[in-house]
Symmetry: C2
């Protein structure tokens, strides 16, 4: 199978490229270094340095033998993207090529506009490059569980059967994102559903929760092949922030009351999910939506887990609630279905104490270069 | 009241500018002639020529005394737009500045991209210009009833109370547009709702049905002040197409089975609705959605009405179903609520036989310049 991976330099794009190359798939990884550029501009660089994409691909080839073609280009440039789709002739595209930071999208006009334009145009362009040059290609798109927001009813897997005044209709599940970034993913889904039902595009839209972990079979070969680890307020997830705070003796900063519930998953499970989606393509005209996470818990529960894992390593982990910089519900109902990927064969790797202990150990080895100032929120969801 | 009208050269923008100026409001009309340019490029020019916007404003001033400031500029240019919002300091913005043709948005990549970029960026920019420079300003946005599509349940006014597995949640009514143009309006609504609930923007989003009519108090002063009348397949509505076909003796072209039901309204009622929305602004943080139409009927019923009106003028009007170039349901349930504007005081002008007879008479005066080839669909909803 020939797989084009857009956003191949990212936290998920790079491990996906290696994992699929290791399965013997022909891989082409595309990136324009948008995340690296934003990280530099906002002083949010990753904890461990990582070589540029062509160097990582060379190193992977030297150590493993698998080949990853690399193209450094911008997916909002349609001429280059359509050239690449013609040239590489993919059977599937995995589309990660989006500005992925919610706080970045909330800084101000320039950052919001960059997020909207990049994410919408990249999605629009890959849809058209497939329609025009690889019409049977299966588009596997990364959405986010954050598209659903936190409704007071069960979150279904993409679609909602509504009974109203004695009649029924099945709708795309109504979406409401918590940041402009999340909203662009809502718009992506609207666009993909339009082109699937109208022009017969084949799409899998994966509504993914926050991913944690650094450990993949290929990344284990060399530290320079490791996924990016961001702990800052721009790109860092709450899991990474808590791990770094635990290691440096800074209290875990819970935003507000800490009852925010989300569905999480291990990086190893993201790799499984992508492979399962690729190996089970959908018919023309279908938008398949799969909720991609394995466990759901609150921020307070996550803090407790990190505290317990820290205790194993002799770390005295404290928790310190701080005012919530975001606009979000801090106590809410949350029950999200996630059976589709399990039915396809996903074998979950839960967030055990052992997993957290290993991540803490990994982070501790870089303790001296951690800048704890990056851990506090610099962006608030305030009116500009 | 100071009102900025984006898209002030359009079928609705121009009559709105005159009507509000006649009420004594300070008006600034903005346009970049996108519709005129597309009309020229696609050989879809209006039936009656109309002077450019500054000339129309001068003529209106000479005949009526009311003053309409004109700015020829592109709303996707944020620097100019924010300059104008600072300079004019509007109390309200009426946002019509969108590529309004569904068939145009379905021609191919270039036209789809132009529609997406123009509509999303214009909306995004006006949101930010208001947030940054006129934070109390009320944004009155033109959406479309087409955002809802044709669900098998009642269409509510913007929001849907869902009961599911014993719990309840009120969602933005789920939307599914029938063309890329309609989809961009869905995306607009998502964006507006995000910025209303997050940054306290005040928004009225008017879900409007197809508008018909040429007759407004101000337009009656001089034929050069008349609204644009398009009868082509790109900008022409089904009402205009049927009127022109009736006058030229060409059978009315019903697309497919003709059971497509929509909510229609008279141009006079659009003007009332805009004034009612402006005179009843919403509090900060509120997105008010109003369904803007007065009557609903099927395409076949519309054809019958035109046939009956033609009979009054001695026209032998025939009906000829043709293959549907669009992807849409041709027989479907349709029951859309529209009480909000009536509660605000709307006095509907129904589509009486007299109204249609007058429009037929008006069109007949230009019979010799009608190009009947423009009446047939040139764009199909096919895979590119």
């Amino acid at each position: 199978m020939r797989v084009l991976i857009l956003g191949g330099d990212g936290y998920l794009g790079w491990p996906t490229s290696m994992a699929l190359a290791a399965r013997g798939y022909d891989i082409c990884a595309v990136d324009n270094y948008l995340r690296r550029n934003i990280a530099r501009e906002t002083d949010s660089e990753a904890l461990m340095p990582s070589p540029h994409l062509p160097s990582r691909a060379e190193l992977f080839h030297a150590l493993h033998g698998g080949k990853i073609r690399v193209e450094i280009m911008d997916c909002t440039d349609y001429r280059r993207l359509e050239w690449l789709v013609r040239d590489f002739a993919p059977d599937a595209v995995v589309h990660y090529a989006e500005q992925p930071s919610a706080p970045y999208s909330m800084i101000g006009f320039v950052e919001a506009r960059r997020t909207l334009v990049n994410n919408l145009e990249a999605t629009f362009n890959i849809v058209w490059a497939i329609l025009e040059h690889a019409p049977n290609c299966h588009l596997v798109k990364l959405g986010t569980m954050g598209e659903y927001g936190t409704p007071n009813i069960d979150i279904e897997e993409g679609w909602l059967d509504v009974e109203h005044n004695g009649r029924r209709h099945k709708f795309l599940y109504p979406r409401q994102g918590g940041s402009l970034y999340h909203t662009t993913k809502v718009l992506d889904t609207d666009l993909l559903w339009f082109y699937a039902r109208t022009y017969g595009l084949r799409v899998t839209d994966l509504m993914q929760g926050p991913v944690y972990g650094l450990d993949t079979a290929e990344a284990a070969m060399d530290p320079r092949l490791a996924p990016n680890f961001h702990y800052d307020d721009i790109f860092g997830t709450v899991v990474n922030r808590f791990l770094v705070q635990a290691v440096t003796g800074v209290p875990l900063t819970v935003y507000g009351r800490g009852g925010q519930t989300r569905g999480y998953l291990n990086l190893k499970d993201t790799l499984q999910c992508i492979a399962l989606a690729l190996d089970n393509p959908v018919p023309a005209g279908q938008l398949r939506i799969l909720n991609q996470f394995t466990e759901q818990f609150t921020v307070n529960q996550l803090a407790e887990r990190v505290r317990a894992a820290g205790r194993v390593l002799g770390l005295d982990v404290r928790v310190q609630p701080i005012p919530n910089p975001r606009k979000e519900m801090e106590e809410h109902y949350y029950n999200a279905r996630h059976s589709g990927l399990l039915e396809l064969g996903l074998q979950p790797h839960p967030m055990t104490e052992q997993v957290l202990v290993e991540m803490l150990g990994r982070v501790a080895r870089h303790k001296e270069v951690i800048d704890v100032r990056k851990l506090l929120p610099r962006v608030a969801w305030n009116k500009p």
